[in-house]
Symmetry: D2
Subunit: 306 residues, 4 copies
């Protein structure tokens, strides 16, 4: 490697307002609905002068983006996060000349109605988690060059099976002391994101259907490794939803170590485990549909949370 | 205030092993059960020499406590956390002469079966939260002086109602700029702990019944303040469960501020809110049954998490 | 244990505004100063009707408390957190008839000047942590019954020594598999709080002096257990500061396990460790000065963070 | 957008052991040194069969990677994290035929010696933060195709200036209500990562020098926007270190809002602020040296933390 005497220049850049905590109540009838969101906006484009000259003439303040996000929550915030994200991204891409593309990232926190007298209460809910639904919408170009990308997802989906998982037949080296396991706990905190090639008719239904395909496959498949489980989960989702172009997973192997109670005269047949914190295996993989439209800038991230 | 020339001496002290992450799988049949726990043990007693002399002769290592916690998970860890805590606390109080009292604090994380083909899968679950069930069991004394205290609870129970809440008629001072509110969001992340005077026949059923009394009251009561709501919630729980001696609440008022979209020509009739992080009102209150057995050391905390 | 038919009544209660994130810049000269604070106010007193009747007539809104906290930051926020807390607590205790006592809890985040050209910059700093200075001030009663309590403290003070620590000669039971250790890492994340019997002339100097006494003792003492180390640390602080009545510690034993690299032919003589997360030993102890003024309600907590 | 009937196939994938909490004590002399690390390993290559067939024959267990990480801490863990990372990445790239590239990500937590009697203690330290030094090393290919990339960095570097910052002259739209600011607090929690084109002689010295260039520029530059400040910071680092190819920033604009104490008759001339949590502006930018070697896979991330 050698040094260069090249000029120092501005490289890729983007900016926006991150983590607007929007709560949208739909109350046109006595039976209210709630959408609890964390919304981030991101603009890319001709903002070089703000960096190199300190000239803000092309910079829409992040405060203005915030006002827009909350105001659009009235008109577009009571439906799916994908539609709300599209409305915001189109606005920023359309209305501002310096903007080459706009990205909207949204987390949605789920709530369930409080059961009262056998049915759900009209306007009271409790939060359910830890899993969080996500969307990342990117809109770029104008006229014939207009393109739109939508990524849906779920994160922090903690899932565990207490049997039906093994790990054996692996490569060994001088540092290998791990014993093969033929019946172990398999657990992860799943982060999955899927790119749509075609918009489904109902974004919310698609979310629930894809999530169901993922967790059912995790449950039903006899696992030979988390790697295999992830691939089959992705395959199931893409088979069930032909409009999906690809799916990406990041999945920590949350280790549950069988505890040695035997030395105290108490046999432990896969019944008592220590759930360890760190380190953890971390498996990342994607499943693709051949021939799907290219991803373009769909995966170019902003906050890193979506 | 004046200085004193008094001797410097050891005051109250306690120690133990905190946050043992025990997972107990019940697998005697093909339909498994899971108990996912965070267990802390705490011993109080004649451990002065460890502090003042560095003499460990009376100190049961925290590692030994850990081994006990995991081993007892086999025999006592597949039922209620109150029973498991009682078994551990009795063990430590009974078996070790220096121990004057033992406290076991447990968090339980909930899981739900993955739905497959219309029913829950036998051995696969997803985590549900954020709410966490808690218990704190204290056992002290021996022979006729033996006493036992059991506290159950729930924490991080996030609950929200989108109407049916007001706050008006308050005291004002020169720093008061708050306007009265006649229809606002009321939301909290509830931490509730209840002390049993009498052991119920079924700890798990009692937990779910008390939780239901709390959330139903939150839903049904027209709220004039979070203070009033908490009192009525506690009253409902104590009325439903005569074996309860008292209940304690800590409840942040999670502020949801109506967003001023009107200045952009978009009316906001309680539909769009900013969910603020900090600061927050924090209300703490207890509801007691007169004549209940005294609390003794039931509330003397250890980790602060339970 | 038997059930009672007693009346259900309101028990102890308190409320306030928690976690006001106040930043106070002193800029009367070109060399600025910064105080970065997290301030919580808590009122106790005759607020029963708010709970039992929903009547807010005696309730000073938490929003009004917030306004006061920020406004007092101008007049009292550029000095020690103990003085600022006293000013606020006295205000709330003096001005409002229903208030029987007021508690102010403050965290202070430290900053250091950016070094430029050999000295610290006038108005630019970087944060230093993780340790946080704390204070909890309580003011109650009026006239001849007026009492004031001040607690100072530090939390999240992570300290480690790589030798000079042993743990041996402990009690054993059938669950004891721990081997005695004659040279181990001793590490904790210290939470220490000290109660003043007499106000020092300079609260800031007292903070730094007490902190120095604690960490020096941790460094210099050959440790036979964390219990012994804590006692000697507290003793050193009380000896150095005769105005202190007592000090309380909560100290996790952050386990560092020597890693078994020997099985790969690489000897490890106390050089390579795994820093484990959970579980951890948790030692809590207090050191008292005999004859010091009683603590009264000095330790009655609010947020639990201070 | 149209659906495709394409085959479903495995896409990019990688795996490893994340967050090994290695503490390395150098104790060959009485004056010990400490390196406190969080190490993650990541392998890319011919692991398709593990995913598609459940065949682990090419998969080195993450447990074996863990053993290697701790064992190498003895031989390579007492120096810079860049050198340690290179040793590990070369090992994984060299020794395993299926591995096409290996990535090592490391966080280093800083400690400072406890001052005792005017100098730093030999074997006792306190943690300093919140800032964390980072490195990400990637080694790929073999023989003539061998390539190595080293990225250094710092994250969670919280920096603030109390004057010398403005924001004015920005683009406005119907949602713009922000007023221009001519004297405001500028604060961020900086995440900076720099790619080396040439290895410096001393990685540790380079780290401290680059960090110094960044914070000095933040302090000295009169800021017209965080965008401009970031660009000048990056430029300063690249000018000072000709071996740097590029630097990337992610910087939240941590808003400090001047508090309206004026309505209570107390003027606030840039002295009292509310430090808000969310939302926040988020600025991301890079500064490049023209003609520098291409980045290749240097930025392909694993844990997202480095």
């Amino acid at each position: 490697m050698t040094e260069t005497g090249g000029r120092i220049v501005l490289g890729p850049h983007q900016y926006g307002k991150a983590e607007n905590r929007v709560v949208r109540i739909y109350r046109d009838t006595a039976r209210h609905e709630i959408r609890d969101l964390n919304v981030s906006s991101c603009l890319r484009g001709a903002f070089d002068d703000a960096h190199t000259l300190g000239d803000q003439g092309s910079v829409l303040p992040t405060d203005s983006q915030k006002q827009t996000i909350y105001t659009y929550a009235k008109s577009h915030g009571d439906g799916s996060i994908e539609d709300y994200g599209l409305a915001l991204a189109r606005h920023f891409a359309d209305e501002f000349e310096p903007v080459e593309s706009a990205r909207i990232e949204i987390e949605e926190y789920a709530w369930q109605r409080v059961p009262v007298g056998g049915s759900g209460h009209d306007h009271t809910w409790t939060r359910v988690g830890p899993e969080v639904r996500t969307a990342a919408v990117t809109v770029g170009g104008s006229g014939a060059d207009r393109r739109e990308w939508v990524i849906g997802g779920v994160k922090d989906l903690v899932i565990l099976k207490s049997t039906g998982s093994e790990f054996a037949g692996f490569l060994t080296d001088p540092f290998t002391v791990l014993e093969p396991a033929y019946d172990r706990i398999l657990a992860t905190s799943l982060d999955a994101r899927w790119r749509f090639a075609t918009a489904p008719g109902d974004w919310d239904a698609a979310y629930h259907g894809i999530r169901a395909a993922l967790v059912e496959t995790f449950a039903m498949l006899h696992s030979k490794a988390l790697q295999q489980t992830l691939f089959e989960m992705g395959k199931a989702a893409l088979e069930a939803y032909p409009g999906l172009a690809e799916i990406r997973f990041s999945a920590p192997n949350k280790h549950h170590f069988a505890y040695d109670t035997g030395r105290f005269g108490v046999p432990n047949n896969g019944e008592v485990f220590h759930a360890d914190d760190r380190p953890y295996g971390l498996i990342q993989a994607s499943v693709l549909r051949e021939g799907a439209p290219d991803a373009g800038i769909a995966w170019d991230a902003y906050t890193g949370a979506v």
